[in-house]
Amino acid sequence: MTRPRILHLIDDTTPGGITRVLDHIQSCPQMARDARHVVQVVSRNRALPRLSADMIVSHLTIGWRFLPALISFRARHATTPLVHVEHSYTEGFTALNVPFRPRFFTLLRSAYALFDTVVAVSPTQARWLRDRKLVTRSNLRVIPPMVDLSGFRALAAPTGRPRVIGAIGRLDRQKGFDALIPAFRALPDRDVELHIYGTGAEEAALKELAGTDRRIRFMGHAPSPEAAMAAVDLVAMPSRWEAYGLVALEARAAGRGIVAAEVDGLQDSAAGALRTVKGLSQADWTAALAAARTLPAPEDRATGAETRFARAWSDLITQHCDAAQAAAA
């Protein structure tokens, strides 16, 4: 039997988490063993095309304006298994971005109902989807996203007291670096630096917050995610919302300690963090950063994560393709 052809739809090609996960899906030998994975970029502003595949996986962003296109797409692919991976929406996102919740939940419920399976990217996000009755239990799977971690595992673990705290990600309100900078500035230690990797809309405002504190450095885009991780000893993730939080997974693989906000899926991806902080209060973050500098980094290295990811997708593909074949027979 030939390997099933799995078509992944994306609408966001900016460099970032989703793009990197799809790169991994296409290049991972374990993933290629059971299926052929193909990525197709689609436009959010036009109708979705008629496509042919054994299973179609949406990595698209759900929105009201997109809903008609999605309904039409479902109608034209009535017998193709359709899966949606929810990369964006969480309780934390809803709290800070959605003033009128019932309408938003109706959108998500309507959109998710068009898919045979909805994939949550973290157990915490899955619990939220279930508790808010957005997805029925039987249609819900949890598959945390994955990238190739070998480059991170190859990094030597930092030794001694952490000197460089890294903040890695888009310079966007979501990532909470605006809360991290004042918390870091309140650290009295002179032998510590904050290195901020990434670019984005908040850059000027963040530089303003950093002021004249020479311990804070803006590093721009790193040549590679591994290079950024190699240059820091400790990773701070004060996200306001986070469906998963790949940087935490990479930090674990690299043997770097983590200080993370207790929010959404970050609680799962940053499992084993040196310190977690509920909320973004400056005093709490300053205390957490100070405490984390005294603790040894954990050595879990996210062993076997890629294999678990490949197996979870393989199971999902088998389930849907077997069902489709049985229906056709």
């Binding site: 809803t94 709290a95 800070l96 009755k133 605006d178 207790e262 929010v263 400056q282």
Partner: protein, 328 residues
């Protein structure tokens, strides 16, 4: 396990606790437990609770060294087993149908995490003062919570356990149990909790009609300590601002103006006209919101503060005697 728990934080509350417990035992909704948290009282509070427990086996007593109101509530939450948790301070009273109403509301509105009601104000003898907290009940956003705190007081809400869990955390200094209310606050602990829930979870806050709580106010004219109240309110703002700086940039001036107006009213009641005048003037210089959104209340506060400052206590005495004469 009972479906509902009522947490009663009690500190040296011997004078009022019997009436509070009687009102809770008399709830028409029967599937409940009452968790009295004796917060290190030095009076008969624990004995009264224990005696009440012999008449109503649904009452449990939890005792601790004094941790303050937030700490007592947190201990009560940790001991409570219900799927919904109500709060009633040991000097307040619940109307007989209060719990029933909130349980029905929460069952019918699955997105609501905090269900609250309005309150009638009572004096030290338990007489209704003719004043009420009648807050907005629906379409409550974080901005409403910040500006007008529709939940009103700590004996008004009944809260889903899942919503309490969503904001619970374990501070590094704590060994025993989680915090839901922030125990570093000795005032503003309520509003801090509701606003934090609004800003960090997607649980809704919604009220039910009726004055289902009787909220006791201290009318003995003791110093209102408004400066300490303002300081703790400011500390709450400083704590929560990083959660959503844009939200605070939009709503902080109006919210502070409302807070200052509230403190001005407290100062008028306490007979501190100079402080009242300073607060209300500062409020109006910060934001027009109290004037445009609630003109009557704001103008009466302004008039009371300015007249008292110029003429002493006479205008307030006149207003109060007029009011009681009218009520007959």
């Amino acid at each position: 396990m009972p479906f509902a728990s009522i947490v009663v934080p009690a500190f040296n509350a011997a004078a009022t606790l019997p009436a509070t417990l009687a009102s809770l035992s008399a709830q028409s909704y029967r599937d409940l437990e009452i968790v009295v948290v004796d917060d290190g009282s030095t009076d008969a509070t624990p004995r009264i609770a224990a005696e009440h427990a012999t008449r109503d086996p649904r009452v449990r007593l939890v005792q601790q060294y004094n941790r303050g109101l937030a700490g007592a509530r947190n201990s009560g939450i940790a001991a409570a087993t219900g799927a919904v948790v109500g709060f009633c301070d040991a000097d307040d009273l619940w109307a007989p149908d209060k719990l029933d109403t909130h349980v029905a509301h929460l069952a019918a509105a699955p997105l609501v995490g905090i269900s609250y009601s309005g309150s009638a104000l009572i004096d030290m003898e338990g007489r209704r003062l003719g004043h009420a907290q009648s807050p907005r009940l629906t379409d409550v956003t974080a901005a409403h919570v910040f500006k007008r705190n529709p939940v009103g007081n700590g004996s008004a809400p009944v809260i889903r356990r899942a919503a309490l869990k969503a904001i619970a955390w374990r501070p590094a200094v704590e060994r025993r149990r989680d915090w839901v209310f922030d125990e570093t606050f000795r005032q503003s602990e309520d509003i801090e909790c509701w606003l934090r829930l609004s800003l960090t979870t997607d649980w809704g806050i919604e009220g039910v009609p009726g004055l289902l709580t009787e909220y006791r106010v201290n009318t003995s004219g003791l110093s209102a300590r408004t400066d300490a109240q303002l300081a703790s309110w400011e500390r709450m703002v400083t704590k929560l601002r990083p959660t959503d700086p844009g939200f605070f940039a939009r709503h902080e001036p109006a919210a502070r103006a409302y807070q200052l107006r509230y403190l001005a009213r407290r100062a008028v009641s306490a007979g501190d006209a100079a402080t009242a005048q300073a607060y209300i003037r500062q409020a109006l210089s910060l934001s027009r919101a109290p004037l445009t959104e609630e003109p009557l209340r704001t103008v009466t506060t302004l008039a009371a503060a300015e007249l008292s400052a110029r003429l002493g206590a006479a205008p307030m005495r006149l207003a109060l005697s007029l009011k009681s004469a009218l009520r007959g």
